[in-house]
Amino acid sequence: MTATPATGTDTGTGTGTEELVQRPPAEVRYADELAALRAADGDPRPPGWQLSLRAARRFIVGDERAGVSRKFVGNAALVERALVTLATNRGLMLVGEPGTAKSLLSELISAAVSGSSALTVQGGAATTEDQIKYSWNYALLVSEGPSPRSLVPAPMLRGMAEGRIVRFEEITRCPLEVQDCLLSLLSDRVITIPELHGPQGLVFARHGFNVIATANTRDRGVNEMSAALKRRFNFETVFPIADFDTELALVEAEATALLRQSGVEPPPRRDVLEVLVGTFRELRGAFGQGERMSTVMSTAEAVSVAHAVGVRGWFLRGEPGSAADVVASLAGTAAKDSPEDLARLRRFLEQEVPRRKGTQWRALHDARHLLAD
């Protein structure tokens, strides 16, 4: 079974050469680390797991001494709770604001636990039960009748049969009745295929199967989920990064990498990034409580603004981006389609920024007119 998704169109060969893949999955990106952790893993492993809990934890939160990079910047207890949950009979529900690295965390966990993060259901308004459990190859179904050959397994069925973690992204965007098809699957740990007779009609979950669902609190919160489904999950809320320096370092690293990919030579200026990250953190909530932006002000958004700032500076003027570029780029991010957010941003620039000390804050204030009306 090839877990690697189809590659770019023009390769045509289907060999899936990694360097052409924009973003290889975690198990490919960190194949070396996973292999090393597996080799050195002496702790007991839950049945069906590729790594022990401790090794999986080390894979995610990092371990300098063992040469394992830190992949998830967030609190370690959350990762521990998540891993232990997956070793029990409850699913794991990651909730939080968009852009708080929920999907990254679920990808890392499944790569660590099952060695693959490819069994993914992407939730959406059009998601159907077929895409979750199984569907049929209708040509075969017509010619041969229902048989294991004509059955097309979807991620849940495969995850259960193979004993692997299945990721369910944005579960709350699915219609409620579709969400509820997980109920029996999570409690009885079996899928019945009524068209098939005999033992083939029942697929039992093997050890190692569990579900990681993610849901963001902005679209349709978890409040609408049925209580029955809720209680089959343990909830973990993923928060924006609490520490300024950590967030700054992350934004710097990510933005530098992105800029290099876009052919921008100079790395982003640290003082400009400080102002940028500071602005994001303020708008996210510390300032003017109760007046949260309706737009998402996540770290991921900060990275994309930092990227845009660098691109503007370099390709328009041949220099690293400035505070003025921050203002120009913020208009597109912070105020996507909401005039209230734009007004809030303007108020922040007009009233709050002048109180800050530092040349870049001053530059930010001076550039406030760049915020389009």
Binding site: A77, R231, N234, E291, A343, R344, Q351
Partner: protein, 789 residues
């Protein structure tokens, strides 16, 4: 034991002689305050060492009163210390519970026949002054100072908070672990990283001098020194140095200062770091169980009490949930390598299994610090279950807190002790003011006795007398004893209570303005400043423009006018004004809404205007910036009309008026009542400018209005009339008369403007009559009967 030490320290010469014969050794036990594991270590050390002296970190001025401390109290209790002089006010608590290492050292030490001494400087000593925290806790951790070391350790062990780190390393361990060595290593590490401030060094010098004196007198037997781990490495080094071996003197407060210590009952709720007191270790209820019954029972007890509490609150907790919680907790215990479930393992397990919502803020035990508003109810119950509900009680023989005596004495001195009829006080006389302040202080402390009948309502109120009605006196003593926990003197106690109320006010700021005035009424002197500081900190978080306006107006009024209470031009009051004025603009610019006049928010803008005009030196906001912000508000089509009008008026009042004619004409196309709302805002803020006609040229406003109103259809006029009337109500009669005169002149009519204003009937009634007449006429027209008109 042959040479039992005498009850009193032997004379120095004898001790020196003794030291020559056998050298006593000191055992330094560094502890974390409120740690059961450390308490157990202390108990074991006393048992095995049988020391001659047990020296404990604690206020040395309490040494004479150790008997009082060791009465059969029900714990937790605290040693409350207070101090006041010309420049400084300090209060502090040294809380003790059953599992406090200090408490065990005192009790067990005494029981084993050792001499027990507190060896730290008194709480009032300037060495503590650098702990800026007002409600200082002697046994708070020095954590803030060695944060870097503990951060590294947390990262190394992969835990999120120092408490979790500590539990895993020390509290919940295999029996027989060598805790002592590990503790020493831990404290060496954190001390190595931290900067001891001059205050710490002074305290350590002082404590070391006690150790040297005890060593000289121990007659070769060990001396046990129990102090915070932070001080232990330094003490060990200092005690080895040569120095005088006399018992150190206990510093006495300076002549002009007042200070002292007494015992107060304490509670686990106060002790719990999550609910605010900086106490080092959170969750006293849990640690009490850990102390009494060990880690397994403590974990089980915590689980049970969380389930009980939640069920009592009607939050469903199924058996399946509890199984899941328990399973999770055990899994986490294994994953984290703990021999038993720790507090955080249990809490994490419960949180994972019981909370099926997204949280608004991180779980409190992963971040440390206090619980904030908006914490998930399940989490609140979990934290409360950890905190426990135990409340201390003092032994009946314990001396009463000095507040009781202070109040009694004051009331007698001021002739208020046996007042029977109403008391009238003249606030302009020193005596009257002093009495008033005492009564107000009793009032804020909720001490029954006097009720205020009348008096000034705010700083600008020209009322100079106050009347008080004496009432029931039963329960006064009990209330006073309770209030004694707030301070030794009435003024101090009142200020502590006011400070707490300021902090407890939460996001609801309704009471803030009142609190500010209370503070002034109580005249709590320099403490007033701290309260104002707390208020200033809160002002920045007010969300309601109306209540913010009240705070601003109250503060500004006091700052400008107060002569009676003597706080005019107070700089901290000024900072409240400054912050509130800034905040008014922040809130005003974000305000959107529909029609209607909100007088509270208009008053807020008027208060901001006053601040800008009369106290510009206080504000960081410049007049230009304010005018710009006001300009933006007045142009913002989604801002409520009254606010837009007020912003427009503000620009006018600030001397940068826009053309009112254009603004009014722009409003003519809006719904009929918008004009009235807008005018109400304008008149509320810039009435004088409007009357003075100080427009930026062009037509006077009244003329423009006349034109617009005359052009209204009958129907629109009737819709707009109530709002217009409301707006013109801002003018006093004389000014209204001038406007009426102007209107008469415009029409070339002659007559008395006054009679125009003094209609015999309510104008609304007249308008309704006109409407009725109009209706009738139309009806007649419809049936062809109108020709007769």
């Amino acid at each position: 034991m042959t040479n039992t030490p005498p009850a009193d320290p032997p004379a120095p010469d004898a001790a020196a002689a003794g030291a020559g014969v056998a050298t006593a050794s000191a055992v330094f036990l560094g502890v974390r305050h409120h740690s059961p594991a450390c308490a157990r270590l202390v108990a074991r050390a006393i048992e095995t060492l049988r020391p001659a002296y047990v020296l404990v970190e604690g206020p040395a001025d309490m040494n004479a009163r150790l008997d009082e401390l060791l009465l059969e109290h029900r714990l937790p209790i605290a040693v409350f210390s207070h101090y006041r002089d010309e420049t400084r006010v300090a209060t502090s608590w040294a809380p003790l519970c059953e599992y406090s290492p200090e408490w065990i050292a005192l009790r067990q030490g005494r029981a084993s026949g050792a001499e027990v001494r507190f060896i730290d400087l008194p709480a009032w000593h300037p060495a503590f002054a650098e702990r800026a925290e007002r409600y200082a806790n002697r046994y708070a951790d020095a954590e803030a100072r060695y944060a870097r070391a503990t951060e590294r350790l947390c990262a190394h062990f992969g835990v999120d908070s120092v408490d979790a780190l500590w539990d895993g390393l020390f509290e919940v361990t295999e029996p027989g672990d060598d805790l002592m060595t590990r503790l020493d290593a831990y404290f060496d590490l954190v001390r190595g990283d931290a900067e001891a401030d001059p205050g710490d060094r002074a305290r350590e010098e002082y404590m070391a001098s006690w150790v040297r004196a005890a060593l000289a007198r121990a007659g070769g037997r060990p001396v046990l020194v129990v102090t915070g781990g932070f001080h232990q490495p330094a003490l060990r080094a200092l005690a080895d140095r040569d120095g005088p071996a006399d018992w150190p003197e206990v510093p006495a407060p300076p002549e002009d200062a007042l200070g002292g210590s007494f015992l107060v009952p304490y509670s686990f709720r106060q002790l719990d770091a999550f609910s605010g007191y900086q106490s080092g270790m959170p969750s006293p209820g849990y640690y009490q169980r850990l102390w009494e019954a060990g880690p397994e029972q403590a974990a089980r007890g915590l689980l049970r009490s969380v389930a009980d509490r939640l069920r009592a609150r009607g939050i469903p907790v199924s058996t399946a949930d509890l199984i899941a919680a328990r399973g999770l907790a055990q899994g986490l215990t294994l994953l984290r390598g703990h021999p038993y479930e720790t507090r955080v393992d249990v809490l994490d397990g419960l949180a994972g299994a019981l909370i099926s919502d997204d949280l608004d803020r991180p779980l409190p035990w992963t971040t440390g610090g206090t619980l904030s508003a908006g914490t998930h109810p399940v989490v609140v119950e979990m934290v409360a279950a950890c905190a426990g509900e135990a409340e201390g009680r003092l032994h009946p023989d314990t001396p009463l807190p000095p507040l009781v005596h202070d109040v009694t004495e004051r009331l007698v001195r001021l002739g208020l002790a046996d007042a029977e009829g109403p008391v009238t006080l003249d606030l302009t006389s020193a005596g009257g003011l002093m009495r008033s302040q005492v009564l107000h202080r009793l009032r804020v402390l909720d001490i029954p006795g006097f009720t205020r009948v009348s008096g000034p309502a705010d700083g600008a109120d020209p009322v100079f007398t106050e009347r008080w009605q004496p009432g029931r006196v039963s329960g006064r003593e009990a209330a006073l004893i309770e209030a004694g926990a707030y301070g030794a003197r009435l003024d101090e106690a009142a200020s502590v209570v006011l400070g707490e109320r300021a902090r407890d006010a939460g996001p609801d700021v309704g009471p803030l303005a009142g609190l500010l005035f209370d503070t002034v009424l109580c005249g709590v002197g320099p403490l007033c400043g701290e309260l104002l500081g707390a208020l200033a900190a809160r002002v920045g978080r007010i969300r309601e423009l109306g209540s913010l306006g009240e705070v601003l107006a109250a503060a500004l009024g006091l700052w400008r006018h107060d002569r009676v209470f003597g706080v005019a031009r107070d700089p901290l009051l000024g900072s409240v004004v400054a912050d509130a004025a800034d905040r008014v603009f922040w809130l005003a610019e974000g305000l959107h809404g529909g029609p209607g006049v909100d007088f509270a928010r208009l008053r807020a803008l008027a208060a901001a205007r006053d601040a800008l005009l009369h106290a510009p030196e206080l504000l960081s906001l410049t007049r230009e910036a304010a005018a710009e912000a006001a300009g933006r508000i007045s142009r913002d089509q989604r801002a409520p009309a009254d606010l837009r009008g007020a912003a427009f008026g503000l620009r006018w009042a600030l001397g940068t008026p826009d053309d009112p004619a254009a603004a009014v004409r722009a409003l003519a196309s809006a719904p009929a009542d918008t004009l009235g709302d807008w005018l109400a805002g304008l008149f509320a803020v810039a009435r004088e400018e409007v009357v003075g006609g100080a427009a930026a040229g062009g037509e006077p406003l009244v003329d423009v209005l006349d034109g617009v109103v005359s052009a209204m259809t009958e129907g629109d006029f009737l819709i707009g009339l109530p709002a217009l009337r409301q707006a013109f109500a801002f003018f006093p009669p004389r000014e209204r008369e001038r406007i009426a005169q102007r209107l008469l002149e415009r029409r070339g009519a002659r007559g008395s403007a006054r009679s125009l204003l003094r209609t015999t009937a309510d104008p609304l009634l007249l308008a309704r009559a006109a409407a009725l007449e109009d209706n009738v006429a139309r009806l007649l027209d419809r049936y062809g009967l109108g020709a007769t008109r």
